[in-house]
Amino acid sequence: MAQVATETAIRSSVIRQFWDRWSGILVPILAVFSALVVGAFIIGITGADWRAAYIGLWEGAFGSPRALADTVVRSTPFIICGLCVALAFKAGLFNIGAEGQLYAGAVASVVIGTTLQMPAIFHIPATLIAGALGGAAWAAIAGFLKARTGAHEVINTIMLNYIALRMTDWLIRSKTPYILGDPEDTTGARSRLIAETARLPGIQVGSSTILHLGIPLALVLVFVIAWLLYRTTIGFEMRTAGVNPNAARYAGISVPRTIVLAMAFAGALAGVAGAIEVTGVRGSLSADFFSGLGFDAIAVALLARANPVGIIFSGLLWGGLLTGARLMQVRASLSIDVIKIVQALIIMFVAADQIVRFIYRLPKRKPGEETQLSKGWGG
């Protein structure tokens, strides 16, 4: 009897060790898998062939060099904005405002990209830095309000999203006088094109895809943010303020200052993402440019459990799902919205990871292992 109990204990401790080591990767993978399974059922219910749909999805996203290039380009803003949300998570802040910060950064980069004239070697960095500053300033407003008055960043960033979107729309559409709008564009929906010297260089793949300089830049940013968070005193201050504000105060860290700083850093990332989309992909800005990107970034960060390196993969997954959706639609004659359902299911399974743990009989979370997300509501 005693021996049986000991063996059970040993076996469970082996599983536990394995789990402790790999749970960070297993939960998201199982969440994606579960979402695809449920998605297959939903596709089946609509009468379509789920296998054809998923093969189409895969080939459309990763099946050819062209598809892969599309996916990578599409994923780049998700990766950078995912970092933006993750950085704020680490500082205990729930930044819903990546969307607004994207627009703020994009507008700033359009201003610099259309008005200044200088050689590309200066113009490109100036445009990207303008984007970073625009996003940082926009996010810092929410950070300042939180630090000063305790106003919750969730509410403030949502409100700032609306303001940023509407202001961008007005800046572009205003005709008397023209501000960012292009008099030569009859629809009035886009800004003037930025100068050629401000456009990111890249490699042409296929007819419409350019692997631009923003892609390696996103990868560099991943490692810069990982370094900032885990190897610098600034990152230590942010993480400490995020995980235990009381201990942070005790340690002499100024929590309000850290909140503003973390929001500004996060906003700078989203702003750079906006600038890269303007300078690397479109060459101009319109108000429907990012629709929902900043919100999807929350899912990307969540799926990677705010781990910077993990965000490369979750960002690629997100970009891949969107890129592959077109071929899936053709192959299985499905509505493109199915992909939105799969994405929503992934978020659900990740957010409610207890469900995943229950389905796959995984050990429960230990205290302190909770995703940072819930911390944001503590105020």
Binding site: M1, A9, T233, I234, N244, Y250, G252, G368
Partner: protein
């Protein structure tokens, strides 16, 4: 006190209880018997398995092996409901009361007396009055719990158990929050209860109380029963040795203090609490280099706010604080820390540690930004690891590695890590708030000796403790805090335990008639 407790019927028996948690055996073949009408003290350090055993008896956990008998009947307790039905009641260390409800409402909660669809408060109140008269537990059934003193709240908890017809009571660290007088009162209540046939299991780590109130004593260590004795056969020293597994010096060895220049000077300090009420109402203090000033007082008399104001964690409303001649009124925690002030916070998991961080990060929690731990903004892991390894070694922090999260350490080892961190800085003033709360005797001994050592090196020490024994054994001078004020400051030895206890309870000593506690 019954000397012939052995011959009375056994009301509760545990046989060979074993409970494993991943990585630890919390209870290892534990057996005990509780006789009718006796007080059985269960003594042990934190982590010895007392709470696990009680939670098994109360039905919150289930044992892996072993049997439980209540009044001779083998039973399987699977929930507190069942244990209540069997007559087992538990008074938790942290009261389970709803502050905005009356005493009656709290007591009947979950066990409501109804009259049709309505609560029959009157009938319930009558029963509560009857119980409180029978056992001498004076309490007003219509009072709001929020308005009651801690000692009275505890009585409500006991009545709650009796109201559910419990005749086996488990009291978990019941004196931790009481003044000495309230504790005496509790002892009297326990006597009344046992005289009327109730049986009590009394969990504690305070040796003096065990000898005073218990009929029998069972000592747990490392999940095993290591000894059974009676107060007649045991002494504090023998019990401590049994708990720890080696001889323990209970008395802190120290020379008389040689106070130097004043290091901490506080004048007319006023501080508000979280509810914006004045919690510190004009405190004057002076601590000199090389002396320990102990602040005695029941928890919640403004000590927490006082410490927070001194360390820069809470703004002060009025008054001045000077440390080493520098005015630090409303300075930031970092400015104060950089003056050579170390702070052992009262709540180590809330303030003193980031429990999800490894020991390494925690070992430089305040110094992380200074060389050699950082060059510019870049952290130097090598220097941090070396520093942490040195602290762990010198202060005997028991840990498998310096890279495990602080949450994986026992309370005593967490506290030793904090003490190590704070004591290895260059110090002028040490503010130690409840430095040994909830930790084992071995660690207490170690930390006490370290505090005295710092004093002898010329550090000014402000010791805040709710344990009067700790103040009495460490402090050179004692200030008693009551309702946000220092009501007396005396040399240690000028007043007796009892007199200090009275001051802590708000009485004054300069009356000609004896004071009613």
């Amino acid at each position: 006190m019954t000397q012939n407790g052995q011959e009375r019927p056994v009301v509760l028996e545990a046989r060979g209880i074993t409970k494993r948690f991943p990585g630890v055996v919390a209870n290892d073949n534990v057996s005990l018997k509780l006789h009718k009408g006796e007080v059985l003290a269960l003594l042990g350090e934190n982590g010895a398995g007392k709470s696990t055993l009680m939670n098994i008896l109360y039905g919150l956990y289930h044992q892996d092996q072993g049997e439980i008998f209540v009044k001779g009947e083998p039973i399987r307790i699977t929930s507190p409901h069942e244990s209540i039905a069997r007559g087992i009641g538990m008074v938790h260390q942290h009261f389970q009361l709803v502050p905005v409800m009356t005493v009656t409402e709290n007591i009947i909660l979950g066990n409501e007396v109804t009259n049709g669809p309505f609560l029959d408060r009157k009938k319930a109140a009558e029963r509560i009055r009857a119980i409180s008269e029978q056992y001498g537990l004076a309490v007003d059934p219509d009072a709001l719990v929020a308005d009651l003193d801690v000692g009275v709240q505890q009585r409500v908890e006991i009545i709650k158990a009796l109201y559910r017809n419990a005749d086996i009571l488990i009291l978990d660290e019941p004196t931790a929050v009481l003044t000495p007088q309230e504790a005496d009162d509790l002892v009297r209540v326990m006597r009344t209860l046992t005289a009327q046939g109730a049986s009590i299991i009394f969990i504690t780590h305070k040796l003096r109380e065990v000898l005073e109130v218990a009929d029998r004593i069972i000592v747990l260590r490392g999940g095993k029963v290591v000894g059974e004795t009676t107060p007649a056969e045991a002494t504090e020293a023998s019990l401590a040795a049994m708990m720890v597994g080696r001889e323990v010096i209970l008395k802190v060895e120290k020379q008389p203090a040689r106070p130097g220049a004043p290091v901490l000077e506080v004048r007319g300090l006023q501080v508000r609490d979280d509810r914006r009420l004045l919690a510190v109402k004009g405190v004057d203090l002076e601590v000199r280099a090389g002396e320990i000033l102990g602040i005695a007082g029941v928890q919640g008399n403004g000590q927490t706010e006082l410490v927070a104001a001194l360390t820069g964690l809470r703004p002060s409303e009025a008054g001045t604080v000077r440390i080493a001649g520098v005015d630090v009124t409303n300075a930031t925690p970092r400015q104060i820390s950089e003056l050579g002030v170390a702070h052992i916070p009262e709540d180590r998991q809330r303030d003193g540690l980031v429990t999800s961080y490894p020991l390494t990060d925690n070992s430089v929690l305040e110094l992380y930004y200074l060389p050699p731990f950082a060059r510019g903004v870049v952290r130097n892991d090598q220097a941090i690891n070396q520093h942490c390894a040195r602290l762990v070694e010198e202060f005997d922090v028991r840990t498998p590695s310096i890279h495990v999260p602080a949450s994986s350490l026992s309370g005593g080892n967490q506290q030793k890590l904090i003490v190590a961190r704070e004591f290895t800085r260059s110090l002028k003033l040490l503010i130690a708030s409840q430095p040994t709360r909830g930790i084992d005797v071995g660690s207490i001994e170690f930390i006490h000796n370290q505090i005295v050592k710092k004093r002898d090196e010329g550090v000014a020490v402000l010791l805040i403790s709710a344990e009067l024994d700790e103040i009495l054994s460490l402090a050179d001078r004692i200030a008693v805090m009551y309702h946000g004020q220092i009501v007396a400051t005396v040399k240690n030895g000028e007043l007796s335990r009892e007199e200090l206890g009275l001051l802590m309870a708000g009485a004054t000593l300069d009356r000609s008639v004896p004071v009613e506690a």
